[in-house]
Symmetry: C2
């Protein structure tokens, strides 16, 4: 951020320090068929060749971390339509030994992608796949921790923001929205109360007039909603108390 010693700006030596690589890593989550899934890539080379890892890559000289995140995701997974990708900076992981090759500082993102398209490997990734959140083995580098942090962040944001609609198709039923909460939180919610809560929050969802959809093949067709204009939930929709979470 500031030059050392008495160097004038034009005398500033960009190469005076051991270089840092700056990368991005993405924990992309989705909900499919009531299951929480993560987008992972199989590493094609050492270290951790053959292991699953979060999609990630270098930030280029002209990019911000956010810009790099979108590009890297497109390259490594072959997913073309990222228009509905919700991207959010998580934190930066900077432990000196997190990559055995060199000093790598990684800006991690939590991301959501509804209606998950099939990915293809690309770039350095041998292959790319959606895998169930609960079943991912040890990932490369410190990606287990990044993924856990992302899950916790997303779970927390469901409480006090309208983020859940980012997991849904453009039009969705309240039952589908509830499934998002239940899947991410790993908890069961009371349907009548959930419904009231959502509808009582102005701008959370907006009804699609006259539209309805049969969800389970049986039962009453459910009314359809779109995401409303609001971003925050006031009051919040709290997770049921759990022993696992620090409270």
């Amino acid at each position: 951020m500031r030059a050392k010693g008495g160097l004038a700006p034009e005398g500033y030596d960009k190469y005076a320090f051991e270089p840092f690589a700056v990368t991005v890593d993405l924990a992309v989550l989705t909900v499919r068929a009531g299951e929480l899934e993560v987008l992972l890539v199989e590493r094609g080379q050492e270290p951790y060749a053959g292991r699953w890892a979060l999609p990630g890559g270098f930030v280029l000289p002209t990019e911000s971390a956010e810009t790099a995140a979108r590009r890297v995701l497109a390259v490594e997974t072959g997913i073309r339509d990222l228009s509905r990708l919700h991207l959010e900076q998580l934190r930066t992981y900077s432990e000196p030994d997190r990559d055995p090759r060199m000093r790598v500082v990684s800006v991690a993102f939590a991301a959501l992608l509804p209606d998950p398209p099939e990915p293809h490997g690309g770039g350095d990734a041998a292959q790319a796949r959606w895998l169930p959140y609960g079943s991912v083995g040890p990932l490369a580098f410190d990606h287990d921790r990044i993924l856990a942090d992302a899950h916790e962040r997303v779970g927390a944001k469901l409480e006090y923001t309208c983020l859940a609609t980012s997991f849904c198709q453009p039009e969705f039923t309240l039952g589908e929205l509830q499934r998002i909460y239940e899947t991410v939180w790993g908890a069961v919610l009371d349907r009548p109360n959930f419904r009231r809560k959502v509808l009582a929050t102005p701008g959370f969802v907006a009804p699609v007039p006259g539209a309805a959809r049969l969800t389970g093949g049986r039962g009453k067709p459910a009314a359809l909603y779109r995401a409303g204009g609001a971003t925050a939930l006031q009051p919040p929709l709290l997770r049921p108390p759990s022993e696992g979470r620090p409270s």
Copy 2:
């Protein structure tokens, strides 16, 4: 995070890319005499020479960002006792043009320091001072934004964590604790209700038996408390609704 192309790990060229500088910047807040203050340094050199800026500096090859943050703060402000410093990663600012000299990616921290000691300039800082939060003019680089983000983060964390005790001396009265909330939030709280709320949250504060302190020179001496073991507030202590904040 991963090598490009077919380079073997040992063939990996650390210097293949335009180097990034990785820095830390700290928004250190305190409350003194009912006023919110920020720890700033005056820049000794271009760019922005003579302007106030957040303390910050390079991350060294063997440091994590957190380690660098503590070292940089000690060097630039001369503050020796950082044992009670509360440090928390805010986010990373990576816009390509945020520093005119070169590509600088900065990991920003929000920090709290109770009972603020007098700082001295040091390192690249011509001087270091505590300045009232409301009166800081335009800062160097994008530090206005970082500072605003830090303030918002701290304000939000007061709602659902025990963070407020990090602004206080080891022993404090409930009135002093309430002042912290009021100062950071810029809002007035109801004293009886605040008191009940704090005492009803298990582990937020613990009474110091028999101890009392005269606060304003007049009035009944107030009982003293220490920080309890809890870190989260359940239920939260919400800011009074305000139009300024997005809700």
